[in-house]
Assembly symmetry: C2
Homo-oligomer: 400 residues x 2
Amino acid sequence: MMISRSMQEQLAGNSTIRLMFAEGKEMAKKVGADHVYDFSIGNPNVPAPKEVNEAIKAVVDEVDSVYLHGYMANEGYPETRKAVADDLNRRYGTDYDESNIIMTTGAAGGLNIVLKTLLDEGDEVITFKPYFLEYKKYASNYGASLVPVATDSRTFLPDMEALRAAINERTRAVIINTPHNPTGVIYGEDTLKALAAVLEEESKRIGRPIVLISDEPYRELCYDGMSQPWVASFYKDTIVCYSFSKSLSLPGERIGYCVVPDELCEHEDIFACMGIANRTLGMLNAPGIMQKAIERCLDIDISENVRIYDNNRKLLYGILKDAGFKAVYPSGAFYIWIRTPEGYTDAEFCDICKKHYVLVVPGASFEGPGNMRAAYCVSEKTIRDSKPAWEAIAKEVGLR
Amino acid sequence: MMISRSMQEQLAGNSTIRLMFAEGKEMAKKVGADHVYDFSIGNPNVPAPKEVNEAIKAVVDEVDSVYLHGYMANEGYPETRKAVADDLNRRYGTDYDESNIIMTTGAAGGLNIVLKTLLDEGDEVITFKPYFLEYKKYASNYGASLVPVATDSRTFLPDMEALRAAINERTRAVIINTPHNPTGVIYGEDTLKALAAVLEEESKRIGRPIVLISDEPYRELCYDGMSQPWVASFYKDTIVCYSFSKSLSLPGERIGYCVVPDELCEHEDIFACMGIANRTLGMLNAPGIMQKAIERCLDIDISENVRIYDNNRKLLYGILKDAGFKAVYPSGAFYIWIRTPEGYTDAEFCDICKKHYVLVVPGASFEGPGNMRAAYCVSEKTIRDSKPAWEAIAKEVGLR
């Protein structure tokens, strides 16, 4: 066997989703793409705001080619980082500058450079169930384990006692994701205060700071007048990972950033190491064009995109509820977390959905069995057209 | 200490180059940027061909936004990979298609996903001295060691007996880099045949294939009518890592690819794992815009760029030789490997160069003590203007 042990594991675990892709394609061939209701992928269906494309073309025309396309500092262009800092200061009343910002290949790149910086073999990283399963791979990239901790079964907010019980001398970091994939839950002020209190106490107890890593690609996708509080203002040892993938519909362009606040313990060394890891893991940095384009796009009004997702949210939630399904009413992101009907395993339910050409991701893919994730970043037509299929599924599993 | 042990090492090792950057800036403040002769960095000074910028703007205008900026397959856009395969087939008479190509964030991204796929804790990767020092970090990212092997002291071509002696049961791969950074040497047919013969024999002896990883960002930068033979045609268990960073002056845009030939042992699993590693290491993939732009730029004529570097090469080599320095006459890439004058350590010689506002990288940064690297991807003016400085340095060290 030529492949490393860690990749053998990842290859085995990858087959479920690869199978789903293949099945989706087969279905589309059989019944036509219009009759397949694919809620499986978090790929924004709303195009990037036109200002982004205009900015890309403008930087190509206006910025010196050697500067635009050349190597920049490991942390990214200083003026881009300054613009990001200013934007955060304006939005959240913070006081950051370019020395607090590192440009990254999206939040996935950001999480990897943070974990590479913090983790040694045998260390532990806590997150809350259900969770984006790649966190496990990110932690294992650096020889560490992911420790998934329970949440309240109704609200899906962190169970603070379970968190406390999971922390030990090997705990280096806690990853939260808010607004949350796959449940659509937002961690509000009360949750963040309670979380900070536990982390402060436990850091004291174990004798070193536990870093809170806030993964925030859905930060702007909040509904019903809610908004995401600035996580780093609740707990000083916080690193924020952000991506423009969802807010500006740019997941393929690999552009995001990390925030390393001055308040973070040993922040200068951590910042320097994250820059080095950016280089030595092979990203080097977020692409130059996208850094310079984003610099001009930070104050784009994305309320129309949010409105579209909000509309999809209400529409799909309504269809599911009317059909008799139980689901968390999502406050943010673009997912609905649907309870698997009683008497069925996730696999059985998933198969019934497929029979009706509905593709959803089983909860096991988020270590949240008993549930399924439906992504509503699809066209309104797909959602409307899926109604009879959801009704037929509900009938088949005895909900109506 | 919050930082992982592996990053503590990288942080300590990083300071030399960071110091040099800082010193360069200080010098420029003191005597003016025009009077500092900075040969330290391999950042192309020739702008990207205008066709690249035109292609970027065209794809933004012409390609559907959701497709262009959205998630694509882990391996990259199929049609981009097909275009890359066709281009290689045209140039090298190979028979690749999209199933052999993975788009990556440059060669650094490519090397990381290959090593992540192949390496377990305790494995060994061989390369030849001197070498691009990041290889060591790439290998250590996956718990493996880099084993640097001697080259001929005159030609800097691999010492095949030393290679044979270094191979053992833990050897998983050999990295070569041709045209070579920092020596400018090209591995020709004879070298590649001899290398293949040793690897075939030794793979048989240790009972599993040793993968040859060919790092080729300088592939098109060959002079004096020479060209780089296609490495994978000499040895079947080869993976090629390529970057457009140097050929198209795009190092900041993070665009390149890996070639995984059908002849490679277990190539399907290796290909799949490299795709997964692309995602789980956080790159996800090369940026979408650059993939689609490159698809349109594969047959750009870059002979004018090569002519400029060639001109720089002759000019700097001539100045060095006239001043009395000994150096390898480079056949490719854009570096000259200068022998440190007798009676001086690299550090002493480097300090004397700095006194004359000449910045070169000491050989220790490539595990090649007794030499210095000068990058000639700078303006012709910088090279011309540096002549008196080189003469003064030569005088000071007793060469004239």
